[in-house]
Symmetry: C2
């Protein structure tokens, strides 16, 4: 690959000036950045590169935080259920929680929002039924052998990313507090702080916000055996405060209660369908974050700098696909990526510049504490794997920049890694150049994924792949991210009201009751009949796992008449089961493709075609309905073979045929055709060299590929 | 084993008189019976044996049935949902059903009970929205792309046991119709028929009713690929008729509807918690069956004969553990058995004589059409296996008689089988003799199994083991059937209102929402707190699978605070998980014991002890609560090792210790101590000879056992 330059952001590190500048040259960097834990020296700042400076606006203000403890960020917490015996019950609020992260907010204003629940009876204990004293709630006369919880507001003493990095890297520095800009005194302070900061950073060309104000939810516990009590990249718990609750009530005309957040101990997890209250609260918070965020961005702009936002960590309330995102006025968005779907997630945000921060992060340890840049780590392998995941998505959607983060000095022992990043940077720039000539071609296949979040939260579920791997949909999203098809994400409301028009395949994938499968929404006859009609008229409904599952009604899958298969939740154990033979459709399922089985599936009638089975239960089926078809997969695990299988199933079921142009003859190799450039790219997603053929519009071409290789060919 | 005589009922067969009498002698029979398909000749009847004559009162009346077609038995059926397009929808009622079994009852009286449902919207279509014509229901203006069903009454043309035997044995005889005694004209006819029958069978000493009037539900379909649409040994669908519905409404003041039976296509399956309407209807039917049944039994008695009832096939409405059973006045009950739990089920019925009909049945083919007394069959192995299953239960509860059924002539090619039955008969009589001396000892462990049916339906779920093997509870019941512990079955209402007193271990085992786990009943705080209090005061709650699971509330298992473990239904996927080490308690889990895992389990806190795990998920746990304990198993599969494990867990968790007397040192060998006789029995449940030790009250004894052997020792 030709050595090129630009579109690359590299971490600099004071004390390692020579290394920084040498690697900047090697990687073709045009921008240098600092990171959490590193600084840039004048020698680096003056070297002629653009300069990104990271800033997490709401931390590094411990003096202010100590002076204004009411301005610390908060959250609702609930104790675990505590069983009453005969006599009074004392519940220690902080018993289960990490006391370096949380502190009970027992102000009078806070106490008004607390709730004590008899969880056995499912009823709230009236105010006169309990009292608070010194960290404990006391119930003088609980019902014996009922279990009680207390929901309370807690201040957060330790900003969570600082807490994580501190613990991971054994930092000894002071714990940074998170400041809540919801209070005017904090807003004024933070605005002035940023103003001063901008003036003190004249060399900075881009202020990289990390991100805005509120971290994703990350609740730590008191027990080493269960340090993380709860993590959700998409939940809004960490935005709450007395002031937020007051403002919400004024604006919406009803009050949110602690239970709106605690939700019987489940919390409001992103993986479950949001309640109307949660939707309101998200909208309310987004408007606040955008409004104060806009002020900060304006300030940055007034200093002649650009403002980029990091699409991770404190991104809550930013919602880059939400209705208020463009109000911020950000010039760019930066997403840290392990996977292809994250590249698509970044690429689709309405902003001028889209940048990916590649992994691994230049830290001694990586995911789950596994070694990276230290004994036992293999950062080159990691970097290659992540790049191969991401690259196939880059064939389909344009990204403007890539970069790294962390401690550059760690690279001294890893020359292979330096070489790999140089190759990655060149490949990236080559692909970007193709996009700049014009968009790549797609097959005539328009895919919609339907889930509770719809277009507000396309591509992602909540967090990274390794945090959501247990959900079929993230596997589907990852497979789709690199396929040459149009993809959109729609909500169930969208599906019921016209969004299926112009759609060829509708995907619904997930466990029953979740935001991904949909839950109760499938008891809406308008939704069910809209999808049914669309299938009967030629659409393909592709269900994975427990699609359209809802309690009540006839059977479990509310689109069982489309899918021709259903799941017995226990009530149909006495029903007979259709026997079946597995049918082979030539070319449909690539060798090595296949999905894990699911218990309790049964065919609803004789017309369902079983394409694969495991232990006597169908795993892949197809069922005709009118001019359309239902396709079912009992689960989906992303890999090269299954990705091609998914594409094949969509092409076959929609009647388009498997012999489409611009596909390779190997699931491990993928192709993108850029008609304006007159070039096609072929990538090898595997560690084995391979020679593949591509059917172009002017005949079959043979392309030889190195392990993980890429070839850009003129057509 | 000493050759003894009596307590044995053997099938005779006209044409095989010599064989019949030779085998009667060989097996020590005191009774000869006929079977479905065989007759006894005078030579057999006059040989000095007691004579059982089988009679299925409601069949063999085809002339009457043709004359009174309104007296055929019926059932509610529902079509499968049929999708409307644009325009009218025609639904052919019999499309899915076996036309030799069913015929639409389209009388005016019947039509009043039909229902047409829009299953997509979940609403009934009003009368004016449909019409009936010649086997079809027509909806002139359905909602496009909604799915519709029709619930209708159908006559049953072919009595189901006759249908099964006919098809299985390729009989060519006329299909027998089932007559419904609900109508007075049929009652009068059947009474007179039995009267005549008794007079025509002077040699008969025992009239063996097969059974009363209504078969378990067995709905056959039109497709060879799914011949059985529904089978449930415990459901009441086949008792319904216009007259039954009328009488019910008069008596209960409200009308049952088709939907009370059809229940969104699930039907009222025994494995799910019964609705209040179903409970009423069962009680209503039981009273009718007992009242007309009593008249028939009185008639039999008036002829100087005894009346036994067969506890299978047409047993619906008889409910041998129900409040009306003793009203029949039966002298004995006969249960066909494959398993130990069925022996206990028989033994506990309030009747003078308890008889087991052993398997295999003397038919060419057995379960699921597998060969038995023909090429490829191994009836000796089958007989041994079933006997070993049953024998361990016979150590714990007295049974008075055993027997066989079928075609005796089939035995000519199977001399081993004849020998095996001779041994079985002798073993049976030896065990019976011990019981006659006085009851066997039990360990100080009182076990209650709680499920929706409670004492009405102890031991069984619904049908035989091979029909219910997918339910954990049948495995638990089978294990318990041969353990030296007190066992009772209670309902959830019982558990909430005092039945736990005097109970040491409470078992709740099953899939969420089922009759066995309990379903919604676990949202009753009275039940939850009653069990919790009982545990806190020293009880052991042993949960298997998804015990105490109910939707809503905090977590899934409503006794999670007792069990220390819970199941994530999807809402807690973002919650952290306690890590754990697997703890070894010496002697607790026998070598080879272990259960299948269940996904999505998590420990609720640090105090849960994990005793076994699979793929990183706990499979067996224990959790202290007050003076008691919760024990959890992710599933249960009955075998020798797991049976001993179950006993050990109960002893250990209740603080009784594993070193109890009258246990062997091998899970494959079991012991029963009969204090009045001064003897103990040791049985070998395995096909390997083994020498075991037994701790008696006077020291350790060593006993050598043949494969499947039995030893009766003086203490």
């Amino acid at each position: 690959m030709e050595h090129t330059k630009g579109g690359f952001t590299m971490p600099g590190e004071a004390g390692y000036e020579k290394l920084t500048l040498k690697l900047a040259e090697r990687w073709g960097a045009d921008v240098v950045r600092d990171s959490d834990g590193t600084k840039l020296s004048d020698e680096i700042l003056d070297a002629g590169y653009g300069v990104y400076s990271t800033i997490c606006v709401i931390r590094e203000h411990n003096a202010f935080g100590r002076e204004h403890p009411e301005c610390l960020q908060q959250t609702f917490l609930s104790t675990e259920p505590e069983l009453a015996g005969e006599g009074p019950l004392t519940i220690r609020l902080m018993a289960g929680f990490f006391d370096q992260q949380f502190k009970v907010n027992d102000s009078d204003a806070s106490l008004r929002h607390w709730q004590v629940w008899d969880r056995t009876a499912g009823i709230q204990v009236p105010w006169e039924g309990w009292s608070y004293e010194n960290g404990n709630v006391i119930l003088p006369a609980p019902v014996p052998y009922h279990a009680y919880t207390v929901s309370f507001l807690a201040y957060r003493l330790w900003e969570e990313i600082n807490m994580y990095n501190h613990v991971t890297n054994a930092w000894q520095s002071e714990h940074l507090m998170p400041i809540d800009p919801r209070l005017p005194v904090a807003q004024e302070y933070l605005y002035n702080y940023l103003d001063r900061w901008c003036r003190e950073h004249p060399a900075t060309t881009v202020v990289r916000f990390t991100s805005m104000f509120y971290n994703f939810v990350w609740i730590w516990g008191s027990q080493e055996r269960c340090r993380t009590l709860f993590t959700d990249w998409g939940s809004y718990d960490f935005t709450v405060s007395e002031k937020a609750l007051e403002d919400f009530e004024k604006e919406y005309g009803y009050a949110l209660t602690a239970e709106d957040f605690i939700n019987r101990g489940d919390l409001q997890v992103t993986h479950m369908p949001p309640t109307p209250h949660k939707r309101d609260y998200m909208e309310f918070t987004q408007r606040f974050v955008a409004s104060f965020g806009r002020k900060l961005v304006d300030l940055v702009h007034s200093c002649g700098k650009k403002a980029y936002v990091f699409y991770d960590d404190s991104w809550v309330g930013v919602e880059p696909y939400g209705p208020h995102f463009t109000e911020f006025g950000f010039d760019g968005i930066i997403k840290c990526v392990f996977s292809g779907y994250e590249a698509r997630l970044c690429a689709g945000v309405p902003a001028d510049t889209h940048e990916l921060r590649l992994h691994p992060y230049l830290f001694p340890v990586g995911l789950g504490g596994a070694p990276t840049f230290m004994e036992g780590g293999d950062p080159t392998r990691d970097a290659q794997q992540y790049w191969v995941n991401v690259r196939r998505a880059l064939l389909r959607a344009k990204i403007d920049r890539i970069g790294l983060g962390g401690y550059i000095h760690l690279l001294e022992g890893f020359p292979d890694f330096v070489d790999t990043i140089a190759e990655v940077a060149d490949e990236f720039r080559a692909i970007k150049a193709l996009h700049e000539s014009g968009a790549p071609a797609v097959l005539p296949l328009r895919v919609a994924v339907v889930h509770a979040w719809g277009a507000l939260r396309p591509w992602t579920l909540s967090g990274h792949f390794h945090e959501t791997y247990m959900h079929d949909l993230i596997h589907i999203d990852e497979a789709l991210s690199g396929l040459p098809v149009e993809v959109k994400f729609i909500s169930f409301q969208d599906a019921a009201s016209g969004a299926l028009e112009g759609t060829d395949v509708l995907i619904n994938a997930g466990r029953a009751g979740t935001a991904w499968s949909g839950g109760e929404v499938w008891n809406d006859p308008a939704l069910v009949s809209a999808v049914t009609k669309w299938v009967a008229e030629g659409g393909v409904f592709l269900g994975v796992g427990e699609p359209s599952a809802a309690p009540g009604g006839w059977g479990t899958f509310k689109l069982r008449h489309v899918l021709g298969i259903d799941l017995d939740t226990g009530a149909r154990v006495c029903h007979g089961r259709y026997t079946f033979d597995v049918e082979t459709v030539p070319g449909l399922l690539p060798e090595g493709a296949g999905v894990k089985g699911l218990d309790h599936l049964y065919l609803t009638g004789p017309d369902t075609r079983v394409l694969a089975a495991e232990n006597g239960l169908p795993t892949i089926t197809a069922h005709p309905l009118g001019k359309g078809c239902g396709v079912y997969l009992s689960s989906f695990q992303v890999n090269a073979e299954n990705t091609r299988m998914l594409l094949n199933l969509m092409l076959w079921a929609s009647g388009r045929g498997l012999g489409q142009p611009w596909l390779t003859d190997s699931p491990q190799a993928e192709c993108a055709w850029f008609p304006s450039a007159g070039k096609f790219v072929v990538i090898n997603d595997s560690a084995q060299a391979r020679t593949v053929t591509v059917t172009t519009d002017s005949g079959v071409r043979t392309v030889a590929l190195e392990p993980y290789g890429i070839a850009i060919e003129n057509n």
